[in-house]
């Protein structure tokens, strides 16, 4: 047998792959380039518009952090080979759940938050269970939940309160120990110091005259960072992460070797539900009200961010860091086009183009990896 000879020949062939191609098959690469390009673009075209003043920075980072939170969940789920189209409805539903429990029913806010997390993750588990038990595409199952949850989000407050927006959460949350963890800010002292040093701008009038316009980093951003770091480590450095890749790469192959694919998928559905609820909780605690229209179309924004971040729609390949960068691109562009003075409706054109570009790039990456021609 020409054993040694042929394996050496194979070796030579593998070594021919260039460093560039190798770099390309990192899922984050496209997103890293995108982030750099986007920032360069806006520094040139919107550098003096207030976009990079503290208030502007806070604005696009907050918007990006929102996208990051839901993108992390969507990314892990997509790598595990499934979709969740009910993310947006879940945002509306969970916000409403907190509002009804804390305002209408008068329960303590911390209890409302914890119960809502439990309830929503249970719904996520239900979605996942239906998907793995029936073998139906998650696209359809979660689409059903998109309508079911949105329906309840409108029906419940209307029946109970005859309104579709429930406010008064801010006053209910006063003195609560858990609420600041979602709606609060950190680093307030630091920003006050910056204002005293005249490094950042202060309010010019009103009751807050002299106070810094940016008075802290919202917990939303902190959550987004924590979520990205934890999810990235779990995905790339743990046994469970390997199972997530395996479940999405080829569920049957994973089952052969004993990976509990169903459990992994259900847990990923619970994670997206968790992320949606986290998004909603931060929003509700910041704005003090929950509305039936919250979170519309957010599922697509999450999926777009994930795809821009290099994950494959077919599962088994992707990166949390990439998804986070995708979310940042999304957020910075959405906010930045305004600063650059571009008609805001053109944002969608840009979004479509960037999405198409990302998908084509992903397909190319996939071909390289799987060796298809």
């Amino acid at each position: 047998m020409s054993d040694t000879g042929s394996s050496a020949a194979v070796d030579e062939r593998i070594k021919q792959t260039s460093k560039l191609r190798e770099a390309f098959i990192r899922p984050e690469l496209g997103a890293i380039v995108g982030v750099i390009a986007v920032f360069l673009f806006f520094i040139i075209f919107a550098g003096d518009s207030g976009m990079f003043a503290p208030q502007g920075v806070l604005n696009w980072s907050t918007v990006s952090a929102q996208f990051v939170i839901i993108a992390v969940g969507a990314c892990m789920l997509m790598i595990a080979g499934e979709f969740d189209l009910s993310v947006g409805s879940m945002i509306g539903f969970s916000g409403m759940s907190i509002a009804i429990m804390s305002v209408t029913l008068g329960w303590p806010v911390w209890l409302a938050i914890l119960l809502t997390f439990a309830l929503c993750m249970a719904i996520g588990a239900l979605t996942g269970t239906i998907v793995v038990r029936t073998g139906l595409p998650s696209f359809i199952v979660s689409l059903a939940f998109l309508f079911i949850l949105r329906g309840f989000t409108i029906f419940l407050p209307q029946t109970i309160e005859r309104r579709t927006i429930i406010g008064g959460i801010s006053s209910a949350a006063e003195g609560d120990w858990l609420a600041p963890l979602f709606g609060g800010k950190i680093g307030e002292g630091f920003f006050r110091w910056l204002a005293e040093m005249d490094i950042i701008a202060t309010y010019s009038r009103g009751a807050r005259a002299g106070e810094p316009m940016v008075n802290g980093i919202p917990m939303l951003i902190v959550w987004a960072l924590v979520l990205v770091i934890v999810a990235h480590i779990v995905l790339t450095r743990t046994k469970f992460g390997n199972w997530v890749f395996a479940s999405g790469g080829d569920a049957q192959a994973a089952r052969y070797v004993g990976v509990p694919v169903n459990r992994v998928k259900i847990q990923m559905f619970m994670l997206t539900a968790f992320c949606a609820t986290l998004f909603a909780t931060c929003q509700v605690m910041e704005f003090g009200s929950a509305g039936a229209d919250r979170g519309l179309l957010k599922e697509f924004e999450a999926i777009i961010a994930v795809v821009i971040g290099g994950a494959l729609l077919t599962g088994g390949f992707g990166s949390v860091i990439g998804a986070a960068l995708g979310a940042i691109i999304f957020g910075v562009v959405q906010q930045g086009l305004f600063f650059a003075g571009v008609e805001s409706s053109l944002f969608r054109v840009f979004l479509g183009v960037i999405l198409l570009f990302a998908v084509i790039l992903n397909t190319y990456i996939r071909r390289i990896i799987t060796g298809e021609r």
Partner: protein, 315 residues
């Protein structure tokens, strides 16, 4: 004698320049209007036109911004962003006080002049520190319509609500019920925004509740399909039909006698007047002393001619 005359002529010349198409003014004023409407809401076209026209006439630059899906939390972010871009004036709706008051107050405190239009109440506008309120208070408009219908002998009605997610919508229905002096109960339906869905739901309701005497639609989105529903059921012209806003098929339907009246809150004014007010305040330091009510005005078959021409554009 000569000198004062010269000054007068010069200022007259300056005024003409400003009032004409004249972008030649030295100051570069920039106003941003933020609405709560999603992209599909055609009614706001009138607002955009009013805004653009006022900007042109006053020689200031104007921008229109809205949350693409109508998500108010997104709208709050847009207001924050507009604040960061430091315009001279912010014109915004106050669709949900809880969500929007914070960002609007931030804008006010960072030195931006704010005018509240369309949604919210004069009291809320004062609370957030806005210069004034330009609009039609929802409940009051509904109440006035209810009183008018009561005068025409109506006791039961159907309120077709196509944007139930906004509290303002329910207030219109509630006001109408209170104006009639009846309970709202389940006389308000969530019609959705899809035309055929709206039509089917209206038909279903009227079939189930044949004693219904009147229909109240909350805008073209619900009024247009309702007209078709009534046509199909043979009720067009028989049932008492009032609607908020003009636009879409509403004006022809008023002419045909299918719709008795349309409540015009004159959205054009809600975009046009704030720009005029802000520009004059910034240039000459003058400000009207009160809120401006842009509506309600009832448009009936008698005063249709002008409206018909400009419906959907400026009316």
């Amino acid at each position: 004698m000569k000198a004062p005359f010269k000054t007068l002529a010069a200022s007259a010349l300056a005024a003409t320049t400003m009032l004409g198409a004249a972008p030649a003014v030295a100051d570069d004023l920039r106003y941003v209007l933020v609405s709560h409407a999603d992209d599909a809401d055609a009614w706001w076209n009138t607002i955009q036109n009013g805004l653009a026209l006022a900007g042109e006439q006053m020689g200031v630059s104007t921008e229109y911004r809205n949350p693409p899906t109508g998500d108010l939390a997104d709208m709050a972010r847009i207001i924050e962003q507009v604040t960061a871009s430091a315009p001279d004036g912010l014109i915004t709706t106050l669709a949900d006080f809880d969500v929007l008051s914070g960002p609007i107050m931030d804008a006010v405190d960072s030195g931006i002049d704010v005018i509240i239009i369309n949604s919210g109440t004069p009291e809320q506008a004062r609370e957030v520190g806005a210069l004034m309120y330009v609009g039609q208070p929802e409940y009051d408009a509904g109440f006035a319509a209810g009183q008018r219908a009561a005068g025409d002998g109506i006791t039961t009605f159907l309120c077709v609500n196509h944007y139930i997610a906004q509290p303002a919508s329910s207030e219109r229905c509630q006001g109408f019920a209170d104006g009639l002096g009846v309970e709202l109960g389940n006389q308000m339906i969530d019609s959705g925004t899809d035309p055929s869905e709206v039509q089917n739901r209206v038909m279903a309701y009227l079939n189930a509740n044949p004693e219904t005497e009147a229909v109240l639609a909350l805008g073209p989105t619900s009024a247009d399909p309702t007209i078709r529903a009534l046509d199909q059921m043979g009720l067009a012209g028989d049932i008492y039909f009032g609607t908020f806003d003009l636009g879409g098929d509403i004006v022809p339907a008023i002419a045909d006698g299918i719709i008795q009246w349309g409540i015009d809150q004159q959205p054009f004014l809600q975009a046009y007047l704030p720009v005029i007010v802000l520009a004059n305040r910034h240039r000459f330091g003058v400000l009207p002393g009160n809120n401006i009510n842009s509506g309600p005005g009832f448009v009936t078959a008698d005063d249709l001619d002008l409206v018909a021409d400009l419906a959907g554009e400026f009316r």
